[in-house]
């Protein structure tokens, strides 16, 4: 984590994400188009939108898994392909791939060296990095446990740690709170909150804005086939949210923060 500290100043000049007139299609189907937005670094950004609106697709573009049809995209002012090693990614279906064949330790080791040729998962460097991060995130007790024997929340912590172990400058989480109970949700949120002070830009795809609304700095919302951005204060707008979720929504402010709910 200390490593990121040095680059903090340099980061201030950059945008975490920049879209210029971006369009993306899968097959012949245009998923979203004509989208222009910029996200400042070291912020937490939610990505919201209806099912099938193209949230995962946006992440795939950021990760250079699929190309833009037209327009431009920059991650920290660079083409996505160059930034791969700077991005930590937790896919939407992580839980499905969690099997009994590896332990938490191995998942982290793969996060660290899974893209590098070679056979060792336990040399001194790998072990040091893993134990250091595990201490930091308090997941030591999960290192020797099989992924199949973890709860949803524990697994999600491993998934996030696996994405963080390379000290990425960008962290991308696809639905990290899906299928979690309140306690696990809070644990993951605490983890994310904790990262906020570590010079890392975080993108969280979520279908439910409430758990993250006091955490985020803004949100990219996918609406009517375009990606838009709003800072969080403008986002707490009943008209917009009602339109976005196609149902009447009200924003309630309490002393513990804001939340949104269906209007009766």
């Amino acid at each position: 984590m200390a490593k990121n500290f040095k680059s903090a100043n340099a980061l201030e000049l950059k945008n975490a994400l920049e879209l210029k007139n971006a369009c993306v299609a899968k097959g012949k189907k245009t998923i979203w188009s004509n989208s222009t937005l910029t996200i400042k670094p070291n912020e937490i950004t939610a990505i919201i939108g209806m099912n099938g609106s193209g949230k995962t697709t946006l992440l795939e573009v950021m990760l250079d898994i699929i190309p833009l049809n037209s327009g431009e995209i920059y991650i920290l002012d660079q083409k996505p392909k160059k930034m791969r090693s700077q991005i930590g990614y937790v896919p939407q279906k992580y839980q499905l791939s969690a099997s009994n064949v590896i332990r938490g330790y191995d998942a982290l080791a793969l996060g660290l060296v899974g893209n590098k040729l070679g056979i060792s998962l336990s040399n001194k460097y790998i072990r040091n990095q893993i134990y250091q991060l595990a201490d930091h995130l308090q997941i030591n007790h999960l290192l020797n446990r099989r992924l199949s024997e973890m709860s949803g929340g524990q697994l999600q912590k491993i998934a996030v740690s696996q994405a963080l172990i390379n000290n990425p400058k960008i962290l991308i989480l696809d639905e990290p709170l899906a299928n979690l109970d309140i306690q696990s949700t809070n644990e993951i949120l605490t983890l994310i909150q904790h990262l906020k002070n570590h010079h890392i830009s975080i993108f969280i795809v979520t279908h439910d804005l409430n758990p993250v609304i006091d955490l985020i700095d803004g949100a990219i919302y996918l609406l009517d086939g375009h990606a838009h951005y709003l800072p969080v204060k403008n986002l707490k707008n009943e008209k917009l949210l009602s339109y976005l979720y196609s149902t009447k929504i009200e924003v309630v402010h309490t002393k513990d923060g804001a939340f949104i709910r269906n209007k009766k």
């Binding site: 791939s97 590896i102 893209n115 590098k116 040729l117 056979i119």
Partner: protein, 278 residues
């Protein structure tokens, strides 16, 4: 039943074809032990099973054309692997494609074996294997293959493991996941064809999958799993061969039985330990 104890089995052990069986058996066992681990973690057990059936028409067809059985076997397993890779886009949704090819292949195997009387006798040895008929030239070729396999494993183990366990993350890290999947299928098809010569199409599961499953039940450390998987496969083949010689039993039967017993004991023990610790 005529299980009989062979008195002069010690003499038998020094026969060339027996020594060759032990050597070749060991090479095939280690190859199967390695690849079996990846078959399980890639959830490709059904595919490996199907590949073994696809070899059948290759073998019977080769006899029909007067070619060596092995050539047809390897050719069809390889073609089957390529077809399955092309038809199914992702490793997880290939089951329908695989099953369809499997049925077609078995049908052709039957057709070819009906067309020639010699082919139908070979049919039994393809279905159940015959380790004593392996040529020493095959042993040499197989050991070259194993050497390559081990070298590839040492170089590509970590990315292959990541591709196998989590394709999404592997893609995000820029790994060519489809290339890895295709290469894996080709190597798998070779190991399957090799294993068919030892235990046959129908019993292949016990040599390729069962040892790896036993290993994974014991440890979740990937490298230890692979080593254990090889040890279990090797034990099954050698002990199986030994017993089959002493008691004049079909080797495929004894090999498969040992493999099953290892798996059975381990899964029982694991249940016991698990209940105790709770």
């Amino acid at each position: 039943m005529n299980i009989k104890y062979i008195n002069n089995w010690i003499n038998l052990l020094s026969q060339d074809f027996i020594i060759n069986a032990f050597l070749c058996g060991a090479i095939v066992a280690i190859s199967a032990g390695i690849i079996g681990y990846f078959v399980i973690i890639r959830k490709a057990t059904f595919i490996s099973h199907a590949l073994s059936h696809i070899g059948l028409p290759g073998a019977t067809g080769a006899i029909l054309l007067g070619l060596p059985v092995s050539s047809g076997l390897f050719l069809f397993c390889g073609l089957g692997a390529i077809t399955i890779t092309i038809l199914g886009k992702k490793i997880t949704d290939t089951d329908i494609a695989t099953g369809s090819i499997l049925a077609l292949a078995t049908g052709f195997g039957l057709l070819f074996s009906n067309m020639s009387s010699k082919a139908s006798t070979t049919m039994t040895s393809i279905l159940f294997g015959n380790i004593f008929t392996i040529y020493s030239i095959q042993t040499i070729l197989f050991s070259c293959f194993l050497a390559c396999l081990i070298i590839l494993l040492i170089i590509f183990f970590r990315p292959l493991l990541l591709c196998s366990l989590n394709e999404d993350i592997a893609n995000a890290r820029g790994l060519p996941t489809r290339l890895y999947a295709a290469s894996f299928m080709i190597i798998l098809s070779i190991v399957v064809a090799m294993s068919i010569e030892v235990v046959g199409t129908l019993l292949l599961f016990a040599l390729v999958i069962t040892p790896a499953a036993s290993a994974i039940a014991i440890t979740a450390n990937p490298i230890k799993s692979i080593i254990l998987s090889c040890i279990f496969a090797l034990t099954s083949v050698w002990l199986g061969l030994f017993i089959s010689i002493i008691f004049s039993l079909p080797p495929s039967f004894t090999i498969v039985t040992i493999s099953f017993i290892i798996w059975f004991i381990i899964s029982r023990l694991k249940k016991l330990v698990f209940q105790d610790s709770n």
